[in-house]
Symmetry: C2
Subunit: 519 residues, 2 copies
């Protein structure tokens, strides 16, 4: 392609322009809670034992370019994804098959499944289930790959989808910076009011929690009702969560409490009808009835250092509170599910999305994912993975949740050679998404880095549905909406002196005509 | 008086209650910009060279008890004070007399007056003047003193009245803490929704700036209009100012820029009609026409380290922009003015407030202030000050602006004995205001101190008026309103291990029936 105005995006800044932009960014971010607690490497805990310091959250200086059709596709498809994952979460039989393939390689998934079985044995007493989902995508530019260009899914989060609070604020920040002319006039043909999109995520996710809270119905114990945020402790990203809590309270008049996951059994109990009762330690004489449990912890094996955390998860799952998410919904988000849906020629998608048109739209956002097993697709995958040429279009990912340690492209054959074949099924092979080359500047911990970046679009979804095989309303969807977006941008490691890997930041979109940004 | 529920205010907190209250206070404050940049003693500049860290602003844990009638009196009288001080600022002859008494002892006042004279020589080209005032009071409990109990004025600020931004947020914070039951139930007979008062200061002061901006009229140069915040640099209390700027922009659609005072001559110039033109260094090709100059610097001698700052003040004063405040309005706020108004049997008040009823209301808020000169009142004062018994009801204050170093009560006679009599007129003698005993807990830089405190009520006022002797509209008041309040609370030094002196915090009122708190 020839040169376009986007080639020089974002614009360069004179030192005075940069000073003006950064000064306004730093002040606005703190004035509006676009903040994090500082990392221990930045502020040592003994310097601020009371924890009163905060810092500007990692943000991009500019909204990143994003193809408008991809952005709109992502938002438009979210309700179908909500439907898909709620259907998966309701399909215990199908999930059982998935889990059975994983139990030997992923203890965490096995423990989640056991938790489900333990509750099932006693019988579930709450048939409503809430999902605050986030479907993450990258823009794929069609080059040598078989799949078409457009939005491709990176992962689907069914638990603790984060950054909905900060995302609303960063899109506001970028709009503000535009409105005070902090972006140089040379860029105003690209960064303009109508190209920016305000994310409604904080407000919309809070509405989701409020919908569950109301659907729970009145207290059976005559107590005040509340939502419980089950959280990690300490939590540096606390303001992200607080924005949801404040929106829940101010816009929906719903009280919420924060409960560190490891203190669950200390401060909650179940009555005879398994109503979840929460007694705030600050107010031992007042006990609340919990309508909805919102997990911002418990999603990773690290959250379960001892058996008592599994007891806590079981305790919460058994309760009559609506879980966001339930264990089955949590399991629906495991990578294996994404893999079997995205395995070429998979029959699974139509099981959950009978409408062909809807299913094909969802399908178009899948990058091919192969198992490394003895199935036909698995055989195909092994060939692709062992050949350096074909492997260069793939990434090898552990199936284990919270695993990390992906193996990329040409490093795959050598990695597999050293790995006993019996361990191969612990990995999946996924076609690399090839994002368009993009540049931005990321401001993080006071450091400014400019260079090549990769943007990941997350689309939030709220879904409230009814489980329960014996229920005439089983499968009924009470709420289903797209709930705003997140753009998360990180260094692409492409350049010396560029944006460091893992140097991620919250961002917002600057929409451009399709295919424009560098494509 | 007998014991009352207020004797045990604020309530004690269990460690769990305190944890809940502080955690919510710390998170809410950062999420809502109730923040300051940390002091260098807390975070050394080389630790955070980019300046991304912020901390919870010093706040009280509880809203302080405040007599309802005093609070309402303070708000109700503000428009009369606005009228009074605008009338003083318009009365050059009268101010000249004040200044002449001060020139020998206060170079700063002399320089301000010379600035006025220099502009007068060329002729003022802007006859509108804006005041964003704050009248500060303490509750006086009548004991041995001659004056009646009630609200007594501490000082009247005509320039750079601060904390209007944070005050709105701290009253929101206290309401929030009440609404989430962070105050123990034992206190809810006192701290209750209807006893709290939201301060509208941020929004209302911004409306004042917007009123001036609009009254300025259209640009004569075809340029975009703006308000200029003339600020200190660096400014730890920047979020206080930013809240006004954001309200000005969001609620009134008026752009503002921040200009460090010492850079005034670098970035502004006057055209032939003395229109003030501002060219942001970040945007050298765009020049704005300044409608209104809002001084958050220039109020103290420290802001004028060199002659060029006086050149800058003159340059701004000469301009056609509306000054908030003008030099004459600034001078109207000097302590000497307060003194001559509050000198017993002073004839001055009725000069400015011809309506006896209004004047007597204002008069009732004055604590007697005496000069230490050869007038009749001065002779009386010298007797009071040299006698340890009578001196114990007084404070000796330097007349010099920004002076500090007050001498209290029984220390006064010894102090005067060492001071040559020729220097005595540099001081005024003011009857001590005897505030009711109050207790609160102040949270500042992560430290919590509980103990005896003194609360100072500030009432904001907006006044926009027309000067100009030759103008048929001279004296016309275009805007005059009460603009919210500030409660500032600091340690009273009364107890060992209590709240340290100078350990001040922003606060909000918890209204009680008159005379209740400890009186």
């Amino acid at each position: 392609m020839g040169s376009s105005p986007h080639d020089s995006y974002p614009p360069g800044l004179s030192s005075e322009e940069q000073e003006y932009l950064l000064t306004n960014l730093k002040d606005w971010s703190i004035a509006h809670g676009l903040a994090v607690r500082p990392a221990p490497s930045f502020v040592q805990p003994d310097q601020d034992p009371a924890g009163v310091l905060a810092a500007t959250a990692p943000v991009t200086l500019f909204p990143s370019l994003f193809p408008q059709n991809c952005f709109e596709d992502g938002l438009a498809i979210q309700t179908a994804y909500n439907e898909l994952y709620s259907a998966i979460a309701r399909d215990e039989d199908w999930l059982k098959g998935i889990v059975e393939e994983l139990v030997d390689i992923d203890e965490f998934v096995g423990k989640l499944w056991q938790t489900h079985l333990a509750v099932k044995k006693e019988g579930y007493v709450q048939d409503l289930s809430l999902g605050l989902f986030r479907s993450d995508y990258m823009v794929h530019t069609d080059q040598t790959s078989a799949s078409s260009s457009g939005l491709k899914q990176v992962e689907f989060n069914t638990i603790a989808s984060s950054f909905g609070g900060l995302s609303s604020q960063v899109s506001r920040l970028h709009k503000y910076l535009l409105s005070i002319d902090a972006y140089p006039s040379s860029a105003t043909s690209i960064i303009k009011e109508e190209a920016l999109r305000q994310s409604k995520s904080a407000s919309s996710l809070a509405q989701g929690l409020a919908a569950a809270h109301r659907a729970y119905g009145p207290s059976k114990t005559g107590r005040s009702l509340c939502v419980l945020f089950v959280v990690q402790n300490p939590e540096r990203n606390v303001f992200d969560q607080r924005h949801l809590e404040y929106a829940l309270f101010e816009e929906n008049d719903v009280r919420a409490f924060r409960l560190p996951f490891e203190q669950t059994l200390l401060h909650t109990k179940l009555d005879q009808e398994r109503t979840l009762l929460y007694t705030p330690p600050s107010s031992p004489s007042t006990t609340y009835e919990v309508t909805t449990i919102y997990f911002r912890a418990g999603y990773s094996p690290d959250d379960y250092p001892e058996e008592k955390e599994w007891d806590a998860r079981l305790h919460l799952e058994k309760s009559r509170a609506i879980k966001c998410p339930s264990v089955l919904t949590h399991l629906a988000g495991c990578k294996k599910v994404q893999q079997v849906l995205a395995t070429p020629h998979s029959p699974h998608l139509k099981r959950f999305l009978p409408d062909d048109k809807v299913a094909s739209k969802v399908l178009s956002t899948f990058a091919p994912i192969y198992p490394l097993d003895d199935t036909e697709a698995g055989q195909e995958a092994k060939k692709l993975a062992q050949n350096a040429e074909s492997a260069s279009r793939y990434v090898l990912k552990p199936q284990r949740e919270g695993g990390g340690n992906n193996v990329y492209r040409k490093a795959i054959p050598a990695f597999l050679e050293k790995l006993p074949q019996t361990h191969w099924p612990a990995y999946i092979l996924m076609e690399m998404i090839e994002p368009p080359p993009l540049t931005n500047a990321i401001f993080r911990n006071g450091e400014l880095q400019r260079g090549g970046v990769i943007g990941e679009l997350g689309v939030y979804g709220v879904c409230l549905w009814r489980n329960g095989a014996d229920n005439k309303d089983a499968g009924q969807i009470l709420a289903n909406w797209e709930a705003g977006y997140l753009l998360r941008t990180k260094g692409d490691q492409s350049e010396e002196g560029g944006v460091a890997a893992g140097f991620g930041a919250v961002d917002s979109v600057c929409l451009v005509a399709s295919g424009s940004p560098g494509a």
